[in-house]
């Protein structure tokens, strides 16, 4: 069983929900990411989504765009992101790591080379924002052959037909983008999310993580309970942005926020 499947199964046995932080690798500096990953696990993270910086992050709002720019200023890349993940795995065998990014850096490396490198780094899942199932056959086959879960997105306007398509192509979990918009946008509407989740559940047995627009512990709890997990991105990255000259403080604030979310979700 994949590390992701095992994690969600274990959570579901104990009636808990997954807390999934997203941070951009190399933001604000390459050496910050590894200790941050370990700290987030200690604060209660069940899965880590590690953002691969890209020059043209079309689906991201300003907060994650700037995170990408800061990381790229330090020459962060897909290769170096994989190296950080491999380093993390040396001392943490439990927590799944999911790479999240855009398809061009993967194209540049070559799908097969990328799949091999991801396997060597013991990556658990790959979420490629601009690679819908229609274009993903080759990449999905290579990943699945290596026991890596391809993670697909669902949106508020996804039809039943598309949900079934994601269910067939994806594994590990499905990521429900809770609002029409870019990352970090306004606030999500929990009633809408609940309605959509019912529709999604009818077409898939995969766990569903919900993200986009989750900023505080209370929303995290509400949203987590509608699905199987909650993804927190821009709210964490804002802490990095606000404390660029003091990464230790950024880490402390992230740990605090995640800790509060963990507590709220479990209560």
């Amino acid at each position: 069983m994949s590390r992701l499947a095992a994690t969600f199964e274990e959570l579901s046995k104990t009636g808990r929900k997954a807390l999934i932080p997203f941070v951009t690798a190399g933001d604000p500096r390459p050496d910050f990411t590894l200790p941050l990953m370990h700290a987030m696990v200690e604060a209660g993270a069940d899965v880590i989504e590690l953002g691969v910086p890209f020059s043209d992050p079309m689906a991201d709002g300003p907060v994650i765009q700037r995170a990408s720019e800061r990381a790229l200023d330090h020459k962060m890349s897909l290769r170096r992101t994989l190296a950080i993940a491999a380093e993390f795995r040396k001392t943490n065998q439990q927590t799944p790591v999911v790479l999240m990014g855009y398809v061009n850096p993967i194209e540049a490396m070559g799908y097969e080379d990328f799949a091999n490198a991801a396997q060597r780094a013991e990556i658990d899942g790959v979420l490629t924002v601009d690679l819908p199932p229609e274009e993903a056959d080759e990449c999905v086959a290579l990943l699945k052959a290596r026991g890596i879960d391809p993670i697909f997105l669902l949106a508020p306007n996804s039809t039943d037909e598309r949900i079934k398509k994601m269910d067939a192509a994806g594994s590990g979990y499905l990521y429900y983008v809770s609002l029409k918009g870019v990352t970090g946008a306004g606030h999500l509407n929990t009633a809408d999310v609940e309605t959509k989740l019912n529709q999604i559940r009818a077409s898939t047995h995969l766990p569903v993580a919900i993200g986009f627009g989750v900023k505080d512990a209370q929303t995290a709890k509400t949203v987590a309970n509608l699905g199987d997990g909650v993804v927190i991105g821009s709210a964490l990255i804002s802490k990095i942005e606000a404390n660029q000259d003091d990464p230790e403080r950024a880490k402390r604030e992230i740990v605090e926020l995640l800790g509060a979310m963990r507590q709220a979700i479990d209560s």
């Binding site: 043209d56 079309m58 689906a59 398809v103 061009n104 850096p105 540049a108 819908p132």
Partner: protein
């Protein structure tokens, strides 16, 4: 060619290129657009309305003009200019915006967004939005806002909101990113009018089909005026819409050479250029697979060209396919050469071309002398140079 050219396939692929590489939220609106486009493409009422607008509003057909003096001076092939500069708003861009705006109206969309580089597409979009009474937001890189301020003012006069994009390299590619972000956020009421043959399927095919009026007219006019097909077609390539518009109706005429001219900026060897077909490699950006300018890690690199309309790191996927199959040839022209083309046409024929089009003129100056006097080149004069007066004056140290 024995088989008729029939690209793209139904999923928008030109061989390995094109496709639909977008985030999930954009899949439904793109499918909706594709369905509407397929429906109206063959709808007699839609076609009649489009034709009438092109005739009475845009001023089509645009002339095919025999540049006799210039041809004589160059001493080779006869040069014919397809005068897209004479269209309303001064470039080929309006052929496409008229078509897409009519689609938007049919689809009940009330808000139009667009990206623009030189500002020509922004102006052409603001123009049709004004005419149809639609809200219009144009995204433009902050660098381009500064170097094309005249067009920014035109767009504002036309009632559009112009948003200066401050992210990334602050040029056309970043404007496209921002327009995509807007679209994801406002999918329900918003129609995104992309200005070139880029973006996810169906844009590359749809924009081509709207621009193909250039080549259809040119083919007929060339027959009427010379009794034969041209020997070569020349057009500048930014995203590639004026070029594919001219080329497409000739694709099955294998005797007709097709040459796209990319911007070499300071020179290909300097790395400061905008020539993905000549010096890039395949990758995925803005919804399609095509040739890109990128580094080893797949990050898109900054481009350079004196002409804002060619300053783009990608190119329409159909050009990538035409390059790989050898049906079209792609060359490049530096800033300095483009300026020579600009001055040559201005002084020899009394026509001031856009800096984008000047790249095609400069290549024609190289090509024509290598051809026989009874051979024919059709060059796409994609736009007029009025918008570039500031850039030119600045370049030549003149204060206006």
């Amino acid at each position: 060619m024995t088989e008729k050219y029939n690209m793209p396939d139904e999923r928008g692929h030109f061989g390995p290129y094109g496709g639909m590489f977008v985030a999930e939220t954009l899949i439904p609106p793109i499918q909706e657009l594709n369905a509407a486009y397929q429906q109206y493409l063959n709808d007699p009422e839609f076609i009649a309305e489009l034709d009438a607008d092109l005739k009475y509003y845009v001023g089509r057909p645009s002339p095919l003009y025999h540049a006799e003096r210039w041809s004589r001076e160059l001493g080779g092939a006869q040069i014919y200019l397809k005068r897209e500069d004479l269209n309303h708003t001064g470039a080929h861009k309006i052929n496409n915006t008229i078509g897409q705006a009519l689609l938007a109206k049919r689809m009940g969309k009330t808000r139009i967004i667009a990206e623009t580089g030189a500002g020509q597409h922004g102006v052409a979009t603001a123009t049709v939005a004004a005419r149809l009474g639609l809200e219009c937001v144009v995204y433009m890189g902050a660098v381009d806002v500064a170097r094309q301020s005249l067009n920014v003012y035109r767009m504002k006069l036309l009632g559009a909101k112009v948003v200066a994009v401050e992210s990334g390299s602050k040029t056309l590619k970043d404007a496209l990113n921002e327009a995509l972000r807007d679209w994801v956020t406002n999918v329900d009421n918003t129609f995104y009018i992309i200005g070139t043959v880029a973006g996810p399927h169906p844009y590359p095919a749809m924009v081509r089909d709207f621009q193909a009026i250039i080549g259809r007219e040119a083919k007929q006019q060339c027959q009427d005026q010379t009794g034969r097909l041209p020997d070569a077609l020349v057009a500048c390539v930014g995203g590639g819409s004026n070029a594919i518009g001219l080329f497409y109706p000739f694709i099955d005429d294998s005797s007709v050479k097709m040459i796209g001219v990319e911007a070499a900026g300071d020179g290909i060897e300097t790395g400061r250029h905008s020539a993905p077909l000549c010096a890039g490699r395949p990758g995925v950006l803005h919804g399609n697979r095509t040739y890109l300018m990128e580094d080893d890690d797949g990050e898109i690199v900054e481009t350079h060209s004196i002409s804002a309309g060619l300053d783009y790191p990608g190119v329409g996927p159909e050009h990538a396919w035409l390059k790989d199959t050898g049906r079209a040839e792609y060359v490049n022209i530096t800033d300095t050469e483009a300026l020579e083309g600009f001055h040559a046409l201005t002084r020899m024929e009394g026509i001031i071309p856009a800096l984008e089009s000047s790249h095609a003129m400069a290549y024609t100056m190289k090509l024509a002398p290598t051809m026989k006097k009874d051979e024919i080149i059709i060059v796409c004069l994609s736009g007029r140079g009025d918008k570039d007066m500031q850039t030119m004056a600045q370049r030549e140290g003149i204060e206006l």
